[in-house]
Amino acid sequence: MVASILRRSPSLLIVIALLTFALVAACGDGDDSSSAPQPSVSEQPAAEAAPQETVSTPEPPASEEEMPAAEEMAPEEQMVAEEDMSAEEDMSTQQTASEADMDDPLTLTVYSGRGESLVGPLLDQFETDTGVDVRVRYGGTAELAAAILEEGDRSPADVFFAQDAGALGALQDMGRFTVLDDEFLDRVDPVFRSASGGWVGVSGRARVVVYSTQLSAEELPASIFDLIEPEWSGRVGWAPTNGSFQAFVTAMRQVYGDAATAGWLSAMIDNGVQEYPKNTPIVQAVGDGEIDVGLVNHYYLWRFISEDPDFPAANHYTDAGEPGALVNIAGVGLLGSSTNQEAARVFVDYLLSETAQQYFATETHEYPLITGVDPNPGIPGLDTLDPPSLALTSLADLEGTLDLLREVGALP
């Protein structure tokens, strides 16, 4: 029967060949992936998961429910799981739990909204330096935040490494984060961390005006308010859906009030501001000469210059003290549902160490946030920026900003 089909339809052969190839590949891969990260989360001793101040403590029934899953796991995984289970029976104290950890290397699952190209080398270095076994899921910050919310207490993630404070704030508000140790929080200026301690910034990025080098110095705007003048009509780009841009609008509202901010936003729109979905297309458009200036974070420019040394754009810092020079952060939060709290702390500690901070300064051209590490010589120091003295936490009223952006028509 099969043979007759094959004889009549040679093209089926190709499909079958692909299937065979696929199955072989699938089986090879299945051994290590089908039992992937999730069991390690739910099966570890509940005693180890001791989040102090979160709504999300894993309930014992949940982990019992998970046990049968161990039967479906590959043999080697099963052994590890059994060890964990027997460990759970033997001991109920935190002390023995950490003894067990000494035998097995610590493991850690990071959800990273920052790209692999940027932070991958740093995470590899972390693995080498600390011996912690790291697994990273890369994705968009907003998408990963939504996934963590959907996953709830069963989330495989231990740590969320986000592009912007908005996403960290959203997860904190939903009770997903545990409070970080003061030891970590204190290393960073209070401006760059959550007031309630749910997240901490690990690197900073300044709001700048990226401009085409076709412009001369006199032509550059001293203030963002210059950009509503007729001479800038149709020459400016912004990204109203971008978290950093929204933080900047929130800062404007605090400094100048809602009415003035709405006035500026409307005037920008009336002046033909060009809309882009995020920062990189703005920098690209400035380089192409499509627009002359764009409101972006400072560090994207270096990416373009590293691939094209003649890239015709540069960063301009507006007047000191105005929100145009606001400094945003990329940061981390530790999930309350994590059963690898110890490894997660090692990770946060590492990100706030000199090694990692130096990496952000030299490799990603961001601002280090601990004292003692200087930013890349090519960019002006944080102290010279004199950004408006607003704590990022005080920029929490995102909803108000979104309403404003919708009201003036910057967002649908």
Binding site: M1, V2, S4, I5, R8, S9, P10, S11, L12, L13, I14, V15, L18, L19, F21, A22, A26, D29, G30, S33, S34, S35, A36, P37, Q38, P39, E66, E72, M73, G115, E116, S117, V136, Y138, G139, A142, E143, A145, A146, A147, L149, E150, E151, G152, R154, T241, Y276, P277, T280, P281, Q284, D288, F304, S306, E307, D308, E399, L402, L411, P412
Partner: protein, 504 residues
């Protein structure tokens, strides 16, 4: 297939009254209208491109028609955010086209930002859905009718319009539906080309306010729009018989001699391939060369290529296997229930990928935690997302098989299983192949579900391209993107070569 819908309903229950009442706003209504208009316009334009392309590559002696077949289908794998960036680089206000024209004193080219630009870009990246379905449809038509028409004195042109095209009503509607729903679900192109659609509004809810409930309400609105489109399509295709009255298997069609028409035909195909495939490839090569010159290492991404290929192939096969019984019941035993079941499958394809991905995060971890974030769940996600592609391809071929052949086989004592294996499935081959190709190619470029549901460390070409380009590592994005195009072209080339050999 219903999971995304159930998820949306669960999430929308959390929504406050404001989110619901916002649905009645004029701005919300405009959003729905614009989305519908864009979907219809792109589907219409795709038909105008794909119908002659399918006919030229299947039925005429066009020079190098196998090569053209492959080149014309490959743009399907170009992720829309890459395609849109390339499109802007080529046709933007300061793109290559403007540079070429500037010595002639042309300072502004037509605006590509906005509805028109999104319409053009989406047409160029989604017409292959129609093309694949139409090619399968054309290959299943019994040429006897056309021969009869010609022998009765009708010209080739009139035969094509009056005999061939009416017989293609099922592939035309099925393919147009796929194009329209793809447009509804697209995010990359509409966001870069500044056209607000429902999908973009849903993304903005996730991205800016992290409001899953408000996003779900918009998602349900999108489902409403899709239901409307499906009802229209159903009303249109309900009646009609599409199989020939002659012998069961269509004989090999005689290839029409193009004569001097071959030159305009070639120019037509070349122009489309140049824009839809040449432009993105050219921009990617430019990125690659520029990056290599600046000292970026060349990264091959072969591991990711293997991952993409096998997981997409498994998804394609699973989708085809599942779609066969659904198509058979829907075509052979039509009933309102079968029609509804068949159409429910379309919601996954029309919804933004992120919604489907989140629904599977939600259910995956609660119902089948053992396979959460394993390749099993990833293949299942592709099935939920792309099942209609397989169904559309298979349905097209199935309606062309005369039920009388199956009945005859049964009356001669063949068991239903044997009839299926020896009669139905062999006759279905063109549809199976096009259904498989549609799912395979679309899964290769899938991003949101892959990012959230693949095993950790399971890189595909699409995730590599996205990861590099989103951080402006364009050179590193170019290599996997070019490999994506190659990996898609190879199996297509094999399939097309086989197809043509069978015809002889």
């Amino acid at each position: 297939m219903l999971l995304p819908l159930i998820y949306l309903i669960i999430r929308a229950l959390d929504a406050d009254a404001a989110a619901w009442s916002a649905l009645g706003d004029a701005s919300s209504l405009r959003l729905v209208l614009r989305t519908a208009l864009l979907a219809l316009a792109v589907a219409g334009a795709s038909l105008v491109l794909a119908l002659p392309m399918a006919w030229l590559t299947v039925r005429t002696d066009l020079p190098l028609r196998r090569l053209w077949s492959v080149l014309a289908i490959v743009p399907l794998v170009v992720p829309s955010y890459v395609g849109a960036v390339a499109f802007i680089a080529a046709f933007g206000p300061r793109g290559t086209l403007q540079e070429i024209l500037s010595p002639l004193g042309v300072d502004t080219v037509p605006q590509i930002y906005g509805f028109a630009g999104a319409f053009l870009a989406l047409t160029l990246f989604s017409y292959p859905y129609l093309l694949l379905v139409l090619r399968a449809g054309l290959r299943g038509i019994d040429p006897a009718l056309e021969d009869a028409s010609r022998s009765l004195g009708m010209g080739s042109w009139r035969t094509f319009l009056r005999v061939t095209v009416p017989q293609l009503r099922v592939p035309i509607t099925a393919g147009s539906l796929l194009v329209a729903l793809y447009v509804v679900s697209d995010f990359g192109a509409v966001s870069l080309l500044r056209t607000d659609t429902l999908t973009r509004a849903i993304f903005i809810q996730y991205q800016t306010s992290f409001d899953r409930a408000a996003a779900a309400v918009l998602g349900l609105e999108l489902v409403g729009l899709v239901t409307l489109i499906l009802v229209l399509e159903w009303l249109y295709r309900r009646r009609g018989r599409f199989h020939g009255g002659g012998p069961g298997t269509p004989g090999p069609p005689r290839l029409l001699r193009l004569g001097r028409w071959r030159w305009p035909a070639l120019a037509f195909l070349a122009a489309i391939v140049l824009v839809a495939l040449g432009v993105p490839t050219g921009v990617l090569l430019h990125w690659l060369v520029r990056g290599l010159q600046a000292g970026e290492p060349f990264a091959g991404a072969w591991g990711a290529a293997l991952n993409s290929a096998w997981v997409s192939a498994v998804a394609g096969l699973v989708a085809v296997v599942v779609a066969i019984p659904v198509a058979i019941v829907a075509v052979r035993k039509p009933s309102p229930l079968a029609a509804i079941v068949e159409r429910v499958g379309y919601t996954g394809f029309a919804l933004p990928g992120i919604v489907v991905a989140l629904s599977l995060v939600f259910f995956g971890l609660r119902v089948v935690p053992a396979v959460y974030q394993s390749w099993v769940l990833l293949v299942f996600a592709y099935l939920v997302l792309f099942f209609p592609l397989a169904l559309g391809g298979i349905r097209t071929s199935l309606v062309q098989i005369r039920p009388g052949i199956e009945e005859a086989a049964r009356s001669l004592g063949g068991s239903p299983g044997r009839v299926l294996a020896t009669i139905t499935i062999p006759l279905l081959i063109p549809g199976l192949v096009s259904g498989f190709a549609l799912v395979f190619l679309t899964a290769m470029k899938e991003l949101p579900a892959t990012l959230l549901l693949a095993p950790i460390g399971f890189d595909t070409l699409a995730t590599e391209v996205w990861s590099a380009s989103s951080e402006a590592f364009f050179a590193r994005a170019a290599a996997p993107a070019l490999i994506l195009i190659l990996v898609a072209a190879l199996p297509l080339a094999l399939l097309v070569a086989r197809e043509h050999r069978v015809e002889r």
